[in-house]
């Protein structure tokens, strides 16, 4: 006999393991938030297009609303502690065709973001870093390399190579995947610490003096003030919205990477003590991210100046002929400029690139887990769920994911269709909000499942806690869907975007019914996978 534990008697039996640490879930999620991308997007697009916004307040607001969404997803995770993300939740609460469609929409979004991360590694990471190192260190070959790598074909080829590298990491098995993620995570954390440290020991006067000294040959005397004046001349600073509205809008850029905080729903089945571990993991990663963002944004505004970052970014993004920095004015690069050090500039850039890289294998894996869940339910071809007998990884699934992301990279580089890649995240948010809404009714529509949940007896104002938190999460998700919808800078709702959304939704529906028909010819009724067997 194994003895007594927590008021029950256990016997010697296999599988009696202790619960995993909440820290593990925290690390899983924070790696998929990409703190670095968040800061980069907020200070680049945020300062450029929302001039009177309070960026740190906007990022905190996004953290609070993401907290509601994460708590709603936590309720699902506790009630259905199975891996597979929203597909599992949807397939037990909605019509199977809708569950698959929502999952397909979500996976398409993450695949698009996977391609976008590879794209940003070059356009916001490697390219500007090479350029800035070239300017700071007076090395023209670096400047030339910077120009070359962001031109279309090199961008596509190097971006695709990054995706292939991620595929190679993923198919190599868990050991290789985890080693890669550990190295990238350590570099990313060190990069963020270095950035904060650099900003802490620097000063506003020091930055202006150093920037003017380095940039005078390229921009002219008093470059710092000249860039701000030039941007104002070109229209930067004029806005029809109040500071409050622009603060809410700028929070879109914080919300986009924050979605990663709930990605641990994909591994719910592998986490013991789901309620505690997922709760601390999800909400903890949001809190720490918020803290890092606020600290970095506050320091960057203090040392570099929000006006300057916004003005330089505006002229760069608009390509309006106004004065700007020769390379993209990312705060990591500007912090390097403050000390006139190519080495520091390179180190800070590597930190940002590491944050971006963390997304790519993580997103690939997320997509492959969902595809495996579809394959198990026989609504996708079996090979998508096959695990290689030699590598012990779903090689076919990863290969399909690679092909999809390379196609997206091509679209991203060569066509305007995917230029507003954020539209895909909007779709994913819509899918999440539908799942959260289904969670509001779940305790009533599937009482036989909900009654077995550890939260089944917890009420708030007489209502099941799952209904309450899922409703709050639904409201938060809906807020961001519409906030993005009405923000043409972040996403918007142009004809091409709406058509793209429609095509993906339609593809999901067609895919489900085509697979169901095909399976019928094999004597398999896919609907059986979603039905509960009667007990009596």
């Amino acid at each position: 006999m194994a003895g007594s534990d927590s008021g029950i008697f256990l016997r010697k039996a296999s599988g009696l393991v202790r619960s995993a640490s909440a820290l593990d879930v925290f690390i899983f999620n924070i790696g998929l938030i990409s703190v670095g991308i968040g800061v980069g997007l907020l200070m680049y697009y945020g300062a450029a297009y929302y001039p009177n916004a309070n960026i740190w307040a906007g990022s905190l607001f996004a953290c609070v609303l993401m907290g509601f969404i994460a708590t709603g997803m936590l309720m699902w995770s506790v009630t259905l502690p199975r891996s597979g993300g929203i597909y599992v939740f949807g397939s037990r609460s909605l019509a199977p065709w809708l569950a698959l469609t929502l999952s397909l929409v979500e996976i398409t979004a993450w695949q698009a973001m996977c391609a976008a991360a590879a794209y940003w590694i070059i356009t916001l990471g490697v390219g500007p870093a090479l350029g800035m190192i070239g300017y700071v260190g007076h090395m023209p070959s670096f400047v030339a390399a910077s120009d070359w790598i962001v031109s279309p074909w090199p961008l596509f080829l190097v971006g695709s190579a990054i995706l292939v590298l991620s595929w190679w990491v993923c198919i190599g098995g868990m050991k290789r995947f985890l080693l890669s993620q550990k190295i990238a995570f350590a570099i990313a954390i060190l990069g963020s610490a270095l950035l904060i440290g650099t900003l802490l020991i620097g000063s506003h006067d020091q930055f202006i003096a150093s920037f003017n000294t380095i940039m005078t040959p390229y921009i002219g005397a008093d470059s710092y003030a000249a860039i701000i004046a030039s941007a104002k001349e070109k229209g930067w600073g004029a806005t029809e919205f109040s500071p409050l509205v622009n603060t809410l809008k700028v929070s879109n850029w914080a919300f986009l990477p924050l979605i990663g905080a709930a990605f641990s729903i994909a591994i719910a089945g592998e986490i013991k003590s789901v309620s505690r571990s997922q709760g601390i993991g999800m909400l903890g990663s949001i809190a720490i991210t918020g803290l890092l963002w606020v600290t970095t944004i506050f320091l960057a505004n203090h040392v570099i100046g929000q006006d300057f970052i916004g003005a330089a970014s505006f002229n760069k993004l608009e390509a309006n002929g106004g004065l700007t920095t020769p390379a993209d004015p990312a705060i990591s690069l500007l912090a390097g400029v403050m000390f006139g050090s190519p080495v520091l500039t390179a180190l800070l850039s590597i930190g940002i690139i590491a944050w971006m890289w963390l997304w790519i294998p993580g997103m690939h894996t997320f997509a492959v887990r969902a595809m495996a869940a579809w394959a198990f339910d026989r609504i996708a071809p079996e090979p998508l769920g096959d695990v290689s007998p030699t590598r012990h990884t779903p090689v076919v699934g990863y290969t399909v994911s690679l092909i999809v992301t390379v196609v997206m990279m091509w679209l991203l580089v060569f066509t305007p269709v995917f230029s507003a890649v954020v539209v895909f995240i909007m779709m994913a948010i819509l899918a999440w909000s539908i799942i959260l809404l289904a969670g509001v009714w779940f305790p009533y529509t599937r009482p036989e499942i909900y009654s077995k949940s550890p939260i089944a007896n917890q009420k708030f104002l007489g209502l099941p806690v799952m209904s309450v938190y899922c409703f709050l999460g639904f409201l938060a998700a809906q807020f961001y869907f519409w906030n993005l919808w009405f923000d043409p800078i972040a996403a918007g709702h142009g004809t091409v975007q709406l058509e793209t959304v429609g095509v993906v939704f339609l593809a999901g529906i067609v895919f489900y019914f085509a697979m169901a028909a095909y399976r019928r010819t094999q004597g398999i009724d896919v609907r059986l996978a979603f039905k509960e067997i009667p007990i009596e």
């Binding site: 008021g7 029950i8 016997r11 296999s14 995993a20 640490s21 996978a529």
Partner: protein
């Protein structure tokens, strides 16, 4: 059987589930799966017995105290007690209503706990047999089963005496036009469980049964432990404290199957391998010509994971993983 579709003689539809670990709700679903999925044969893999007793101490005329998910609770009526007992049953645990003295004795005595465990395990198996006998009465469906490593030897006698269960271990039996090799237990585990065998012992068992299996293309392996180094035997890696090892937020994995079972499958190439033991190893794979499946287990959530396999002659015509 009234719900059974008429199928050509050389076809067989099997519903296989495993590792129910005492969950009554899962067992009832398993029995009902025959009608629900149109399966002519039910195969229940091993590990049908539960792992824990939940003591419920009577503290008043109609008042009881117990622990629910780590929280001490008080049950103030007979109906509250019955609801709690049902909940405990469905999780695969054994609820035991005790006096304070009986509880004290169990706290003190490992022998007393062992006696109680064996009694409750046997009672649960008897209840299940009773349910299945009534449910499947008048049909041709029977339950084929073999033991898992966690199953007390005490259940063997009860299952062998049953009319509704064909219970075998280390034997080959007929199943229509097919033969089925039964082999329970598992390789050595960190928990030192009831029925564990070394790789050498497994090799000997297969050597001993090899001559009885007939044509490999018509042989089904009902072997609790899965073949090693496959998707079927991948489970969380544990440290010396039996705690799951996590790396970068991901549970680290290891393989806990049997290399002797894998060698036997590679060598004999049966038509189908039905495996369990590793609850996380839900997958369907091919080892040469053999289709091997492990439906995994989510017994503690009251979810029955199973696999519906259709055989046609010497072919596996379809494999469908199900959660019901």
């Amino acid at each position: 059987m009234f719900w059974r579709k008429s199928v050509p003689k050389d076809e067989l539809t099997v519903f296989f589930a495993t590792d129910l670990h005492g969950s009554t709700i899962c067992f009832k679903k398993f029995v009902n799966a025959a009608q629900f999925y149109g399966a002519g044969t039910l195969v229940l893999g091993g590990d049908m017995t539960g792992k824990a007793i939940v003591p419920i101490t009577k503290v008043g005329a109609d008042s009881y105290v117990a622990t629910d998910s780590g929280t001490r609770i008080t049950l103030e009526s007979g109906s509250a007690l019955n609801d709690f007992l049902l909940k405990v049953d469905n999780k695969g645990f054994y609820g035991a209503v005790l006096t304070a003295d009986e509880k004290d004795e169990l706290d003190r005595s490992e022998e007393a706990r062992d006696r109680l465990f064996r009694r409750l395990v046997v009672e649960r198996v008897e209840e299940w047999i009773d349910f299945a006998s009534k449910k499947l009465a008048g049909s041709a469906v029977r339950i084929i089963s073999s033991p898992g490593n966690d199953d007390f030897f005490d259940i063997d006698e009860v299952l062998k005496a049953s009319d509704i269960v064909d219970y075998h271990d280390k034997e080959v039996t007929d199943l229509g036009n097919y033969r089925i090799l039964h082999c329970g237990g598992s390789t050595v585990t960190p928990w030192d469980t009831e029925r564990e065998y070394s790789e050498e012992q497994y090799a000997e068992i297969f050597d001993g049964l090899r001559d009885k299996i007939g044509a490999p293309g018509r042989c089904i392996f009902n072997v609790h432990v899965p073949p090693r180094d496959t998707a079927l035997d991948e489970c969380p890696k544990l440290d010396s404290d039996l705690k799951v090892v996590f790396e970068m937020g991901n549970p680290a994995k290891m393989h806990a199957g049997s290399s002797s079972v894998r060698e036997a499958i590679e060598d004999i190439q049966p038509l189908l391998g039905l495996h369990g033991h590793i609850h996380e190893g839900r997958a369907s794979i091919k080892i040469g010509r053999t289709t091997c499946v492990n439906p995994g287990s989510l017994y503690s959530d009251g979810v029955l994971q199973g696999v519906l396999v259709s055989l046609s002659g010497e072919k596996v015509s379809s494999v469908q993983m199900l959660q019901g």
